[in-house]
């Protein structure tokens, strides 16, 4: 069975500080991977997706970047956090032309 893990579970960071969020999928080779952002009480906004290692497509950047250094890993990062980055970050995966399955999420508070 496939499992998706996100780290950290939660972060409190200062405005202007760097950020790195991670997502790992186990039990599935060559997954498509996705990053989403959810404002508190809001809907989900797709940020990035990746079909293969080293390739990332941007949907909405929000002054963030993403990388896929390994087949099972997807990283979301920024060098300078903004207050507007606060929210809930979700990673998801598919096997291709199929349903997206979501990870447990990382809650970020920028002060």
């Amino acid at each position: 069975a496939q499992t998706i893990h996100q780290w950290p579970v939660a972060e409190i960071k200062a405005v202007g500080s760097p950020l790195s969020l991670g997502c790992t999928i186990k039990g599935k080779s060559s997954p498509n991977l996705y990053w989403y952002w959810q404002a508190t009480g809001g809907t989900l906004q797709q940020l990035f997706y990746s079909i293969t290692v080293g390739q990332v497509e941007s949907v909405v950047q929000l002054n963030l970047s993403a990388s896929r250094p390994k087949d099972d890993q997807f990283i979301l990062s920024t060098e300078k956090l903004l207050l507007s980055h606060s929210g809930f970050y979700l990673c998801a995966w598919t096997g291709g032309q199929d349903t997206q399955y979501f990870g447990p999420g990382t809650r970020l508070l920028v002060l």
Partner: protein, 114 residues
């Protein structure tokens, strides 16, 4: 262009009552539709999905949804709700061949009262 409208931001029902959460979609291509549920402070869980065929699809925990092409709708139903069904429900659209891009509705927050 794709869009999903969930007209009810909040729905409150009594435990044991029936439920319908509404979803209207707009899609330039063949729509693939999903309902996801989000429990407090958690990720999203898939309830059910519709690709083609029988317009009534069954999901987990007694949920079902009915697809209507003529009404551009994909309403979610449950015959008898339980307090544990309290959560936020998202209707989600993907155009055929574009599973990499999902369009989410705003979500409906369901509160089930004892």
């Amino acid at each position: 262009a794709q869009s999903v409208t969930q007209p009810d931001a909040r729905v409150t029902v009594s435990e044991g009552a029936s439920l319908q959460l509404r979803c209207k979609y707009s899609s330039s291509g063949t729509p693939y539709l999903f309902w996801y549920v989000q429990y407090p402070r958690q990720g999203l869980q898939l309830l059910l999905k519709y690709y083609s065929g029988d317009p009534v699809v069954q999901g987990v925990n007694g949920f079902e949804a009915e697809f209507s092409k003529s009404n551009s709708s994909f309403h979610l139903r449950k015959a008898s709700v339980h307090w544990s069904d309290s959560a936020v429900y998202f209707c989600v659209l993907s155009a055929a061949g574009s599973f990499n891009k999902l369009t989410f509705g705003a979500g409906t927050r369901l509160a089930v009262c004892p």
